[in-house]
């Protein structure tokens, strides 16, 4: 079975470490916040200028001046800090954020990522995604392994305009956990009940498959 959105988020959450500053993108990455292990301290960075993002507010806490990068109303946890957008991207670009999790349309064997623009469709903009992928050393991409029509999203070369070049090393899909190194995909784990053959069939870029591929446990 392919991973559900929640399982994808749970798998990504295993990459968290105590004391990490983490930026979570919109969509599945946001769900990772629900699976921070008990007893672990993680601070969420929101690139509009908040470090220490908390849950959505109650009616009483609702405040138009407290929003996240998705423009949703949020709260700040105890020990949070708030700053301007240049400061926020200084910490992103300067490599101070420990982990960035974001979605994508495509990744390729060179670690390129395309996530913001589909030619012919209305282009809304890249927001902070280009800064995030250029600035972070530790990035996890979450996405489905293939499109609904079965077209692979793990490619020899991205076909869509890039968000960043050579910056992605870890991808968690609904079928597998894959690393990118030396111009190849390296299959590391498979989703429960998903065969290596299925993963290979849905991976267009060159992939190294070890003799045994451990199954993710949930």
């Amino acid at each position: 079975m392919a991973l559900s959105r929640e399982q994808l988020a749970m798998r990504v959450a295993r990459e968290l470490q105590d004391g990490y500053y983490v930026n979570l993108g919109i969509g599945i990455p946001t769900l990772v916040a629900n699976y921070i292990p008990d007893g672990m301290e993680v601070m969420l960075q929101s690139e509009n200028g908040l470090l220490g993002m908390g849950p959505f507010p109650t009616e009483e806490q609702l405040d138009a001046d407290m929003i996240n990068a998705g423009k949703q109303t949020v709260t700040a946890i105890t020990g949070a800090s708030i700053f301007n957008s240049a400061e926020s991207f200084a910490m992103i670009r300067g490599g101070h954020v420990d982990l960035t999790v974001l979605g994508a349309f495509e990744v390729d064997v060179e670690g390129n990522i395309a996530s913001w623009m589909i030619p012919g469709k209305l282009i809304k903009g890249m927001g902070g995604a280009m800064d995030l992928v250029a600035g972070a050393d530790n990035i996890i991409v979450t996405m489905t392994h293939a499109s609904k029509k079965g077209a692979s999203k793990l490619l020899p070369k991205c076909t869509l305009p890039l968000t960043g070049a050579g910056c992605i090393h870890k991808v968690v899909t609904d079928l597998a956990y894959v690393e990118i190194e030396d111009g190849k995909f390296w299959l590391k784990e498979r989703a429960p009940g998903v065969s290596v053959d299925e993963i290979v069939a849905k991976t267009a870029g060159e992939m190294v498959v070890p003799e045994t591929v451990p199954e993710m446990g949930f």
């Binding site: 509009n48 200028g49 138009a64 001046d65 957008s85 670009r93 280009m130 250029a134 070049a165």
Partner: protein
């Protein structure tokens, strides 16, 4: 007005001199911390062919989206747009031009513009459509593109509190692009919720020192919420 007193009595006075074809740098992220009163006044003035440098362009009936209704904007420099139907329509008609700029690069362009730095290198956008046609240089084995600073004929800024000398503090994430915008206008207009006397704000906690501020006006704010999300 005298000495360091930056206060003016009306938005009309605050935006006096704004003309067709000018460039405006605006603070705000989404609808959070936007200079609502200045936008309303610009709409009333009817100035056209404006270039607006702002992270977003509001929604159809609020924020910078209001200026689209009367086709006052010629060009937007933004990281994320299209939360409004009018924007899409004018873009497809060719009535509106957009220069998409990564969010962090946009913030730094404003900061650099206000700080007298004409351009800077950044890895953001290298190898992407954003980097096309831009100078590339290698530092320590990594490729960077040259991005130029921006300044505006006017900067329009939303603060929380300010004293009459133009020392400004912002509230929560309504800070966003406002402090950088404040530094990058030939004429910087700041509108605030509360005007106080010099000495009432702690000098240590000032976000925008008064030296950057030319005109200060007190306003009232709707503070519309774009995505109302609640914990039950």
């Amino acid at each position: 007005m005298s000495g360091f007193d930056k206060t003016v009595n009306s938005y009309a006075e605050a935006l006096d001199g704004l003309q067709d074809g000018m460039t405006i740098i605006a603070g705000g992220f989404g609808l959070c911390g936007i200079p609502e009163g200045c936008i309303a006044r610009i709409r009333e003035m009817g100035v056209r062919d404006l270039t607006i440098i702002s992270n977003n362009c509001g929604v159809d009936d609020f924020g910078l989206g209001l200026l689209l209704e009367h086709k006052q904007i010629k060009k937007m420099v933004s990281s994320y747009v299209g939360e409004n139907a009018l924007f899409e329509e004018q873009l497809l008609n060719g009535e509106l031009e957009v220069e998409l700029t990564p969010q962090g690069t946009l913030a730094e362009k404003m900061r650099a513009g206000g700080a007298g730095i004409p351009a800077f290198y950044t890895a953001t956008g290298y190898g992407t459509p954003v980097g096309e046609g831009k100078e590339v240089r290698e530092f320590n084995g990594r490729q960077y593109i040259l991005e130029e600073a921006v300044t505006g004929d006017f900067a329009i800024v939303k603060g929380w509190k300010a004293d009459r000398y133009g020392n400004v503090i912002y509230r929560h994430t309504a800070q966003n692009f406002n402090p950088m915008a404040a530094t990058a206008g030939k004429i910087t207009v700041v509108e605030v919720e509360e005007l106080v006397e010099p000495g009432e704000l702690d000098p240590t906690g000032i976000h925008t020192p008064g030296i950057y501020v030319d005109r200060l006006v007190q306003g009232t704010f709707e503070k519309r919420i774009e995505q109302r999300t609640i914990t039950e």
